[in-house]
Amino acid sequence: MTRYVMTIDLRRCVGCQTCTAACKGANATPPGIQWRRVLDIESGEFPDVRRTFLPVACMHCGDPPCEHVCPTRATTKRADGLVAIDYDLCIGCANCVMACPYDARSIVHEPRYAYGDSPMASEAKRFDPARIGVSMKCTFCKDRIDHAERTGKVPGVDPEVTPACVNSCISGAMGFGDIDDPESSVNKLLAETQHFRMHEELGTEPGVYYVWDMS
């Protein structure tokens, strides 16, 4: 079996939003729509204050609540662990948006562009009408993973089949790979560190592991 997961080493992340911007570029998301972002969370009181940078996106859950509620089967959990959306089936009912406990999904009802009502050449080139009025979210750069399937390359190892955010991360905070493969780098990292998955108590079996200390 294969289950692709992401590891995010919170010890490394500096909150720079390079992954946010790289994702926006790679997936041509409209202004205001971020399939992933890095949150800036403060806790404590002056002077004992902590600031934590928390990258968040679709957790590609093992038991995705979005998939359960989807009335159209546009949202599916693939055999390799990716939670995918078929834009041609989705009716944009937003039930999945409500079901997701990770604020990962969004729907855009009208085209939006960076500067006013007209697209720039780069936006026009990549505008996809199929994504209007339907649910969208991080795909783990599905096309790249599919490409791996065809070429035998290894996601998380070969950049061309690795999600754009992971490739872009300048602090090396993000990893990607098959958690069912004992030799994968994600498995090795998780073996030697302490980590958590967000809102695990909700039974979603998230596919994103947050590393916070060595083991």
Binding site: R11, V69, A94, C100, S135, V211
Partner: protein, 304 residues
């Protein structure tokens, strides 16, 4: 274009959901009442005409709710895709039940058959239940996903149905029967019990502070105006004080209106998302780790 300006501090905290607006709320509001009304109509002991009116009203309410939703969804012309996931999706099930509701409802009105009326009533209950489960299946909204939201939604639908039935009967001039008044009184008691159970349970299990703030502020008004007041009025009608039709109408409308406001509050105003959280603050170099951070929630022992 003006730049997009969210505030960083709010991004991790629970946010009021913005995808289901008044149109989605209208489906729960009208559809729930409609489903409840269909069930009540089957057992309220109304005369044949009043039953037909009640069924028609029930169908109209459900249709109105579904129409509102149709206007909300992003791809209305593919709405039929809603039927593709009966296995787990309560929205699909709701849509299937809606077909049954309309089919049996039309037949019942046309034939006046008591049996069909009972079948419609059962379908109405199923519709109501499906709606309740739609809400509860949404793990992203703590106030909805609490298991006690299901009986709350069902009980309010039934109470509203009874309220509608009483109002209809009062307006029809026949005046509601004691059985119906008594039923409403019982349903009110059930609803307030469900509400208290829901809010208590939600508070205990934890929810976004903002959601609890909305619900806590709403609770006393809901209990007083939505339950205490109509109960007094109902009791007055039951013990035979004059103007029974008018008092019953008042009670019915109060129950319906309060239920609708409660559902609007739940679906819109208290519908805060889960938000995002860190279970352990990371160790930076030789620095310390730290406790969990869950913006927008009161941290509770054992919770995360």
């Amino acid at each position: 274009m003006k730049p997009f300006n969210p505030r960083a501090v709010e991004l991790a905290a629970p946010k009021q959901q913005r995808n289901w607006d008044w149109r989605a709320a209208a489906n729960f509001i009208c559809g729930g009442s409609g489903g409840g009304l269909l069930l009540v109509a089957a057992f309220a002991g109304l005369d044949a005409f009043a039953t037909r009116v009640a069924v028609l009203l029930g169908l109209a309410l459900i249709a109105c709710g579904l129409t509102c939703v149709w206007f909300e969804i992003g791809r209305p012309w593919r709405a039929m895709n809603v039927y593709r996931h009966f296995a787990t999706s309560w929205m699909t099930r709701e849509a299937v039940v809606a077909l049954a509701v309309f089919a049996t409802g039309a037949l019942a009105i046309f034939t006046g058959s008591v049996v069909l009326t009972v079948v419609v009533g059962a379908c109405g209950l199923a519709f109501l239940y499906s709606q309740a489960r739609i809400l509860a299946a949404n793990k992203g909204i703590p106030a909805w996903r609490h298991p006690a939201s299901v009986p709350l939604m069902v009980s309010t639908g039934l109470a509203e149905g009874a309220g509608f039935a009483i109002s209809a009967a009062a307006l029809a001039g026949a005046g509601p029967g004691t059985r119906l008044l008594g039923l409403l009184l019982v349903l009110l008691a059930v609803r307030v019990w469900c509400w208290r159970r829901f809010l208590g349970g939600l508070t205990r299990s934890g929810a976004p502070v903002a959601a609890l703030k909305v619900l806590d502020a709403f609770g006393p008004r809901f209990q007083t105006v939505g339950h205490g007041l109509p109960a007094v009025v109902l009791v007055a009608a039951l013990i035979g004080l004059p103007g029974r039709s008018m008092t019953a109408l008042l009670a019915g409308l109060l129950v319906v209106a309060s239920g609708w406001v409660m559902k609007y509050t739940l679906v819109r105003r208290a519908a805060y998302t889960q938000g995002l959280a860190v279970d352990h603050l990371p160790v930076r170099g030789r620095g310390p780790s730290g406790p969990a951070a869950k913006p927008g929630w009161k941290m509770m022992p054992g919770g995360s």
